[in-house]
Symmetry: none
Subunit: 193 residues, 4 copies
């Protein structure tokens, strides 16, 4: 139809990917759900892999809408807080996406797919380094290796949500939120001047 078949395919693919994982993402299912023939997809995407990659890129775009508004915060520490909170919101509100983007490494999903994941993850990494660095520059954190601190923060987030999302630990979202905040505070506390 007019509103761009390519868009339609992509959105359907995301939906399926989110529900069934990379294992469950098949051209047939996408085609069926999009109301077109399986072969028609090839008019818009070179291969399943290309489609898969685009789905990931889309996911990171969504992630961006959670993370980047943090920049609107008035001061460095608030911006870091907002980033941490954005992370939490994305992980809980879009937990399936979080999993697929940050936790799954569905091995051998073609090198190219992996590459996309890496590239995007690095973007996030850089963003966090900047947040940490400006906290140090502003004197709210003591001077330290900003990269390492950023990685520590990301590690905690990643690890925390990994445990949460995979269901290895239970608890309501609110419980998790409180726990997350206490963990975050414990970390921040050790970093403060």
């Amino acid at each position: 139809m007019l509103p761009d078949t390519k868009e339609k395919i992509l959105s359907v693919a995301c939906e399926i990917y989110l529900h069934a994982g990379s294992k469950g993402l098949s051209m047939r299912k996408v085609a069926e759900k999009a109301g077109i023939s399986a072969t028609a997809i090839y008019r818009h995407f070179e291969s399943k892999d290309a489609l898969h990659r685009q789905v990931l890129v889309d996911g990171f775009r969504t992630f961006g809408t959670y993370l980047y508004p943090a920049l609107a915060g008035p001061d460095p520490l608030t911006r870091l807080h907002l980033a941490a909170e954005g992370f939490f919101r994305f992980a809980t509100e879009q937990s399936r996406y979080y999993e697929l983007l940050f936790l799954s490494m569905d091995c051998l999903d073609e090198a190219k797919v992996q590459a996309v994941l890496k590239r995007e993850a690095r973007q996030t990494y850089k963003f966090m380094i900047e947040r940490v660095q400006e906290c140090m520059d502003a004197g709210v954190f003591r001077q330290d290796n900003a990269e390492e601190i950023a990685m520590l923060l990301l590690s905690v987030c990643n690890g925390f949500f990994g445990l949460y999302v995979s269901g290895k630990f239970e608890g309501s979202t609110d419980t998790m939120k409180a726990l997350y905040e206490r963990s975050y505070q414990r970390l921040i506390h050790g970093l403060a001047v």
Copy 2:
């Protein structure tokens, strides 16, 4: 063949699992690599799932050989250090295993397989809680919620190795080790009395 076909199947399955993930673990491939017919596997394992589960159990057994020796340490803090170090060694020496056991969550992997992962992960969790608790009891950590601290430690490990293993950050093992230790010290520092 004398060297026990079952053993052979399992080791081949581990190998494949390690190289291609649960997605790539197929009865046919296992059979081929083991030099037997595909059906012969069923003599030794009830189903693919049963085989898959056994692979995981084997992996956790290996993990145990890295983690549990920490108990031989002379005091609580040392035992915690050794546990952290064991974690690191397992993650680096058996990085593929680390990934598959702790980081992957291939959603479609039959409930039973998931159950094995959860159960074993909880074991590790309990082990860490004990390590932290005894540090508090011994007065080297200030009193706090041992569970939450253990989770924080695990989160950091999980997150750190998640980033490492997935190749999202580069660096030699030695570099990583040093980084890991500094991160660990930062955390511990905030916990000390």
Copy 3:
């Protein structure tokens, strides 16, 4: 191929079904005999079951061409005679079909397949009730329970052909025909006014 692959598949499936029964009807065999790949069948039939059902429907359609012309008879008794004769012709000329449609009950044949058999058999049943009823209404049979008489007639047919088709009794078709007619007359005789 021009002559419609679907048609080809169906006809081959009928052939196999007729020779080997539902037990011997396999996608692979059909594909091989139809000169296409096994998977190609799925382009035309949703599943083995769907194919199986279509084979049955086809069989009943054929049956109809034997039975329904009886309606062209000038009077009720003739119509009943013609129906009985149509039955006989179908059972002898398409004995394998007769068997598969009316006599087999391969229990494991998916509910849906059974449903088709039941539905169609009921159609035939209704047809016979109508034939009997109009004989009664016309006064050539004495008033009685038309349903039961129809069932009796069908039972005899079914039983007779069951014995014939399964080879439990021998004899040339002509011999059988004569026997059938004598049996039929014996029955009818008891029903006449």
Copy 4:
């Protein structure tokens, strides 16, 4: 165990056959249910087919226990009645057996299996001819072709139960019994002197 493994195998095979039909009768299942290894069966039965055949023979033995007591009746007509009643009881109480012995012709179940069915069915046929003949000899039926009358009777039974067993007609056992008796009476009525 002592009470003859062969017996055990056979009884288990009957059980399975009765529940799952010839399609569901597999050496593995029999072995498992009998508590022996699949290969052990071959010590007692040459092949699956041989076992299958023996199951049928057993079934006919059971059938005999329903039919032959009719001989104890005081006079020819009673004996015929008792035979007809035995038929009904077997068909309703052992409907699965009835189906397998008299109605199923699970094609190509090896010629030998078919042969067993034929041979045994002929026995029943002969028995019925005798019952009919003695009714004629005793003057309760008018003289006619005993063979044909017997076949008519058998046809009705076969057809009736075929419809009943296959579920093509519904109704409680009591309803069926009454219907059966009315049909039988209609037939007999036409045969009486």
